[in-house]
Amino acid sequence: MMHDWLAPKYLLWLWQGFGVTVGLALCAGVAATLGGFLLALIADARWRGARHAVGAYVVAFRNTPLLVQLLFWYFGAATLLPDAATQWLNSAHVVHLGPFALRWPSFEFVAGWIGLTFYTAAFVVEEFRAGIAGVAASQRQAALALGLTPRQTFRHVVLPQAVRISLPPLFGQYMNLVKNSSLTMAIGLAELSYASRQVETETFKTFEAFGVATALYILAIAVIEAVSHAVSHARDRSLARR
């Protein structure tokens, strides 16, 4: 099977798609981590109503397909917004910061960002909760016995250990996030999978188009894996030095 390789123009499309994938995953990753952490704090709250609300959130968002959630945000939630807001979202907005131009993303990107954030947060909260639950009860008791307030106990004794336990599965969730971002092509976001489909229909070079996209996904996963490795080793070393 000797073909000509993909023209540079199409490689550029795929590269731009990869950029959108990475950008989307980064935005959603940051938001989902913050949201998941907040939910994990609420899940341990004293008020029962809050705990049940978090439980219901987790069940609802984990047990429905991300695709349906994305379609809901894109087609459904958009109708709830006032017309002015929809128009604002659909038009281009550019903020100039010196040499850089910061462009407000397309509505597809925002819907994908929201959908991925809510979905991933439902998984992240469980990783944080497992981490907090994995810290031995005696640690908390020891800290309280030393005279630390409950807040100080959580901040300086429980949290560092919990984060250490949660980090590896958390990076697993980030990998899932990159892979899940491919679903946003269903709502028309021009990310990597969308670009590969587009290149394929235009060039009929199925193998090359999907091959490059697949390799880029594997590259992204490998980078996350490497970062995960580096971060946990760096933490181990910094803890050993104390």
Binding site: A43, V54, G55, A56, V58, V59, A60, R62, N63, T64, P65, L66, L67, V68, Q69, L71, F72, F75, G76, A77, T79, L80, E126, R129, A130, A133, G134, M175, V178, K179, N180, S182, L183, M185, A186, S193, S196, R197, E200, T206, F207, F210, A213, T214, Y217, I218, I221, A222
Partner: protein, 239 residues
């Protein structure tokens, strides 16, 4: 949404154009999930056992192949099976088969690691006990290790099946008329009720997944002998 509209569209969401046309909607989602659940369980068991039995040399290509399927999105694999297989082998692969193929490969790759971990968790002593009683390696696996390992890895199987049910929605992208696909059809037809349509479809998936999760875990809980210890981590919240 007025009840009349809801009721007229309900059969289409549940079975698609079934009596007159091919099966679709939630029923097709179930068929897809069931067939890929069985296929992925078989594949996962085979790969997991192979991982556990393979020597250090054979393990590397096996782990790489499994790693490949774990690293790429389901959607990407669906493109491979749907668009590329027909071109390479000059056969017409029906969309349904391509979807089941992709879902089983990914599910199998994920389960392979659970099976491998389950077999390792049983411990070397059980292997040695089996071998010293005169079992062959395969018989020791079949009669001593695997029955215990299956009990350990059962929860991962259930979780993977729930994921499978959700992932069948990706068949939408290659135009298979399962629940998500008919949902967008109904949504396009009704035009002004996207929120009720997608909430209802989400609810159907929720019922499907939660029921599967609860029933399977309840059943496994009864099968599991009380003597078997539980994991170190606290059970996941939301159960």
């Amino acid at each position: 949404m007025p009840w009349q509209l809801f009721l007229t569209n309900l059969p289409y969401l549940l079975v698609g154009p079934f009596p007159q046309g091919p099966l679709g909607g939630a029923a097709l989602t179930l068929v897809l999930a069931l067939s890929s659940a069985i296929a992925s369980a078989v594949l996962g068991l085979a790969l997991g056992i192979a991982l556990a039995l393979a020597g250090p040399v054979a393990r590397v290509p096996l782990a790489l192949a499994i790693g490949f399927f774990r690293a790429i999105p389901v959607l990407m694999l669906m493109f491979w099976t749907y668009f590329l297989l027909p071109m390479m082998f000059h056969v017409d692969v029906p969309a349904l088969a391509a979807v089941v193929c992709a879902l089983s490969l990914i599910g199998g790759a994920y389960l392979a690691h659970s099976v491998h971990a389950g077999i390792r968790a049983v411990g070397d002593a059980q292997w040695q006990a089996g071998l010293s009683l005169g079992f062959t390696r395969f018989d020791a696996l079949r009669y001593v290790v695997l029955p215990q390992a299956l009990r350990i890895m059962a929860p991962s199987f259930v979780n993977q099946w729930v994921t499978l049910v959700k992932d069948t929605s990706l068949a939408y992208i290659v135009g298979v008329g399962e629940l998500s696909f008919v949902a967008t059809q109904v949504n396009n037809r009704l035009m002004i009720y996207p929120i009720p349509v997608f909430l209802f479809v989400g609810f159907l998936y929720l019922v499907l997944c939660t029921a599967l999760d609860r029933v399977a875990k309840h059943w496994l809980g009864r099968v599991r002998r009380p003597a078997v210890g539980h994991g170190v981590l606290a059970p996941a919240a939301g159960d």
